[in-house]
């Protein structure tokens, strides 16, 4: 157990030093480890302690082990504190959003769970164990503060004329991964930076549906140029967290089958599939 956590930690280390050199799958794996919100402080700590031996390892193990339960109290605190300060109108809106997010999360879990059952059936027939299942559970972002922040960002994006036009002009079944904007999946674990990038890219794509104006086209181009290559790299590397599992192809096909009849164009994975359905409830 401790052995495992230590490895995990080292992975996180490596990710900081070899970011650009390690292969995509390793990178995204490390990255995923580095994420869970608590992180910035941890990273700084890592910077100065990393040469030390066992002692530091223990302290790390502590903060690392805590990550799932750790986020819960922290999330409840700030949110309600903010709520109390705000006016009643905002409090009720926050409350409404929080309940919405919890409801979405239950739906999402049910969906994931349903998908996992199918996946497990597939796997037992081929003899491997359910390691991927537990992984899927771990990948769900449960920190309420994070979910609320993300939901707010999504709401901003959806509360636009462009979005209204987009959903009207391109019906769900016509949307193609990589071509059409796709709302980022708030329930996946992502680093803050990666998430913000996804939101940014999503919004940029949505701008293509801005109501026509004379310089509308230029606007879009400007936005794209601003982005720069690094941003794009960042985001794309972050996606294939699942593709590094050996059973990826099987998982893919079962997922697309079990979740929706949509055709899935190869790579883009079950995350995106589930997300489509999860998001549809919140629209």
């Amino acid at each position: 157990m401790s052995e495992w956590t230590r490895d995990r930690r080292r992975d996180a280390h490596r990710s900081q030093h070899d970011e650009r050199r390690s292969g995509p799958s390793q990178w995204s794996h490390c990255r995923k480890r580095g994420i869970d919100g608590s992180l910035r402080a941890n990273r700084e700590a890592e910077g100065c302690d990393r040469e030390n031996g066992r002692h530091t390892d223990n302290s790390y193990r502590h903060s690392d082990n805590r990550h799932s339960s750790f986020t819960t109290p922290e999330s409840a605190g700030p949110v309600s504190r903010c709520g109390r300060q705000a006016d009643w109108g905002s409090q009720v809106e926050d409350d409404e959003m929080r309940r919405g997010v919890h409801r979405d999360m239950q739906r999402y879990r049910r969906r994931i769970l349903g998908a996992e059952v199918t996946q497990r059936e597939r796997k037992t027939s081929s003899g491997s164990s359910g390691s991927c299942d537990s992984r899927e559970g771990e990948n769900i972002e449960t920190d309420e503060a994070v979910l609320l922040r993300r939901q707010k960002q999504i709401n901003y994006g959806k509360n636009t004329l462009a979005y209204d036009r987009y959903i009207k002009e391109v019906p769900k079944h016509m949307r193609q991964p990589g071509v059409h904007p796709k709302t980022p999946n708030k329930f996946r674990k992502y680093s803050r930076r990666s998430w913000d990038q996804q939101i940014k890219l999503w919004k940029v794509k949505l701008h293509a549906w801005d109501p026509p104006t004379e310089d509308g086209r230029d606007n879009l181009l400007d936005n794209i140029e601003e982005l720069g290559l690094d941003d794009v790299m960042d985001i794309e590397l972050d996606f294939p967290t699942l593709s590094d599992s050996q059973n990826a192809p099987a998982a893919l096909s079962t997922h697309s089958l079990s979740l929706e009849g949509e055709d899935c164009l190869g790579t883009p994975v079950k995350i995106q599939k589930t997300e489509t359905t999860a998001e549809s409830d919140t629209v």
Binding site: G83, D87, W88, G89, S90, Q91, V92, E93, D95, E96, R99, G100, R103
Partner: protein, 221 residues
Amino acid sequence: MENSTEDYRIQSFDLDTQVLLKTALKDPSAVNLEKVSNIIVDQSLKDQVFSKEAGRICYTIVQAEAKQSNGNVFRRNLLNRLQQEFKSREETRARSLQEWVCYVTFICNIFDYLKVNNMPMVALVHPVYDCLMRLAQPDALMNEEEVDCLVLQLHRIGEQLEKVNGPRMDELFFLLRDGFLLQEGLTSMARLLLLEILEFRAGGWMLSSTAHKYYYSEIAD
């Protein structure tokens, strides 16, 4: 049937306001919802009958706005105005008992009608309790008007309030019990109302038929 009561309530406004409110109920985006919310609050603070029914009108407007534009301008303004009034409640009470009673009736009515995902609005729980606690203070128990308001609110929303915050309901009822048992100078009507609400809660927010007969049959005679 609901519409007819709304119409009836709306009759008490001048013509322009009637048109404004009726539009707000049907086509909220066509009107200034901030203005509408202020009109409703102002009227509630003046008119006790209206303050008992305003929740339904507010509910209808909130629903209409959410459906039409997914907006909540009306609710936000309504709640913030309520909050503003809440902050100055002691002055209001000192200035006009009637306005104070209207305020409590109105906020309780809003608590009763406006829900978030079918749950009471958490933001209002403590304020509503604060108002009711204020009505349960010794000086307020001396005013039949305030006692009457207090027990009416508890009949309507007591059970919901207790579900969202039981300890505060206990606290409130300690005050009521002590007031009933220890306080000198209560009118007999106030004592009767207090006794009834104590029994009402003790019976799980219900009156047994015997109790009902005890409290109400005399009046009929």
